[in-house]
């Protein structure tokens, strides 16, 4: 049984599942974007927990003297999380801007109604 040791990974998986369900099944566009952000949070937690090693220091090495790499935790997931956060911020901003434009045109946030109005417009053309 690995679940009790890997509790951080279990938490991140639950967050990912909740976010994914929100993204797929929510009809409201804003809630879809929120779901995507929750999904991102799960991924960050997973990456950060993969980099941690017990009883080791943060990867800030002393300016002088010998550096033993095995005394420090893994810095690579930190860089990956940084990339992920930047991309998710840009993505959320772009999606929200598109939502505002969609709302301006169709006056609703429900995706089904937007589809309906869209197909009606196509038929009229």
């Amino acid at each position: 049984m690995n679940f009790l040791i890997n509790y951080e990974e279990v938490t991140s998986m639950i967050l990912f599942a909740i976010g994914f369900t929100m993204l797929v099944f929510s009809k409201n566009i804003m809630k879809k974007i929120l779901g995507l952000n929750i999904m991102d949070t799960g991924v960050y937690l997973f990456l950060a927990s993969m980099g941690y090693i017990e009883d080791k220091l943060t990867p800030i090495v002393p300016p002088t003297g010998e550096v033993n790499a095995l005394d420090y935790i893994n810095p690579i997931p930190a860089g990956l999380v940084l990339t992920g956060i930047v991309v998710s911020v840009s993505f959320s901003a772009l999606m929200l801007a598109l939502t505002v434009r969609l709302y301006k045109k169709y006056r609703t946030l429900n995706l089904d109604e937007i589809y309906e109005k869209c197909s009606k417009e196509d038929e009229e053309e």
Partner: protein, 306 residues
């Protein structure tokens, strides 16, 4: 909170009919169904029965949909948690992620890049093109949001666009006290990215937060005079081109086989002016992040930057 409330609140917020007090305690009643008065009684009754049937049906589908989505969520959870069983244990020193790449970055990073902070040395020296891509992602997002939401200067002003806290003495005093501290802290994090935790992204985010707080409290008109749209554009473009050119130079000269050597050395680790290009690159990234956050806020709130 009912499901329709969210959309209605959004609608009212969007149209600018919602003041701040109303936003705090808003509870929209369901709109009653309007009956046409000129129809005879039995037709009205029939319509009402039909509507009731339709409503029941819709409620049933809604309930089924909700149950199905919960079941789906539980199944996905179970599958994903099942895979956790095959992962190495949490905080395990023998995990496959702790391999020779990490040992090289931590062990040799200080001598090769001159940065005491290994993460800064990694993302701004070994993997600097990755960070350049991230900065361009931010820049592209700003451009796209501006294209989608920018309004003409003489467009009608909505209520939510003019709402400020500039008449509130408590908020104004606290913001006056706290914004300089936030900005100094952000600059400190920017300049110490190669020596301590922090760097361009976190420092830029803190700086942007300070400016956003100022704009929220004193109003966007005042903020637009302090930080003009032209300044934001110039700072972003200069930072990005500086990053591009300096990192191309260091990648060209970093190759030991073409006989060209970089004039910027790693310096003494631990000094303020050390780490080669890491300090100026941190500044460039920080300015890009700060301008991006601030312009996101301004464009969403006001529709334009100036």
């Amino acid at each position: 909170m009912k499901k329709t409330d969210f959309t209605k609140n959004f609608k009212e917020w969007y149209e600018g009919n919602l003041s701040f007090d109303e936003q705090l305690s808003h509870n929209v009643e369901d709109i009653p169904v309007e009956h046409k008065k000129d129809e005879p009684h039995h037709v009205r009754k029939k319509i009402r029965t039909l509507q009731k049937l339709e409503n029941d049906e819709r409620k049933a589908t809604k309930f089924g949909y909700r149950v199905f989505s919960i079941v789906f969520c539980v199944i996905i959870c179970a599958v994903l948690i099942g895979t956790v069983n095959f992962l190495p244990g949490f905080a395990d020193a023998n995990a496959p992620t702790a391999n020779e790449v990490y040992e090289h970055y931590v062990g040799e990073g200080r001598e090769q890049t001159g940065a005491v902070n290994t993460v800064a040395g990694m993302i701004l020296d070994y993997r600097a093109f990755d960070t350049l891509g991230e900065s361009f992602v931010l820049f592209t997002a700003t451009c796209a949001v501006l294209l989608l939401l920018e309004k003409a200067k003489n467009a009608p002003v909505k209520k939510r666009e003019t709402f400020t806290f500039s008449n509130d003495p408590i908020i104004c005093l606290v913001v006056k006290l706290i914004v300089p501290i936030i900005i100094v802290f952000g600059v400190y994090i920017l300049f110490n990215g190669h020596l301590s935790p922090g760097g361009g992204f976190s420092g830029g985010a803190i700086l942007g937060t300070g400016f956003i707080l100022f704009a929220m409290a004193y109003g966007e008109d005042v903020a637009a005079k302090v930080i003009s749209a032209k300044a934001i554009k110039i700072i972003t473009i200069c930072s990005l081109s500086f990053y591009c050119l300096s990192k191309s130079y260091s990648f060209f000269t970093g190759n030991e086989f073409n006989g060209v050597h970089s004039i910027i050395g790693p310096g003494t680790p631990g000094d303020f002016l050390s780490g080669g290009l890491i300090l100026p690159l941190n500044l460039a990234v920080g300015f890009v992040v700060c301008c991006t956050m601030y312009s996101f806020y301004m464009v969403f709130k006001r529709g334009r930057l100036d």
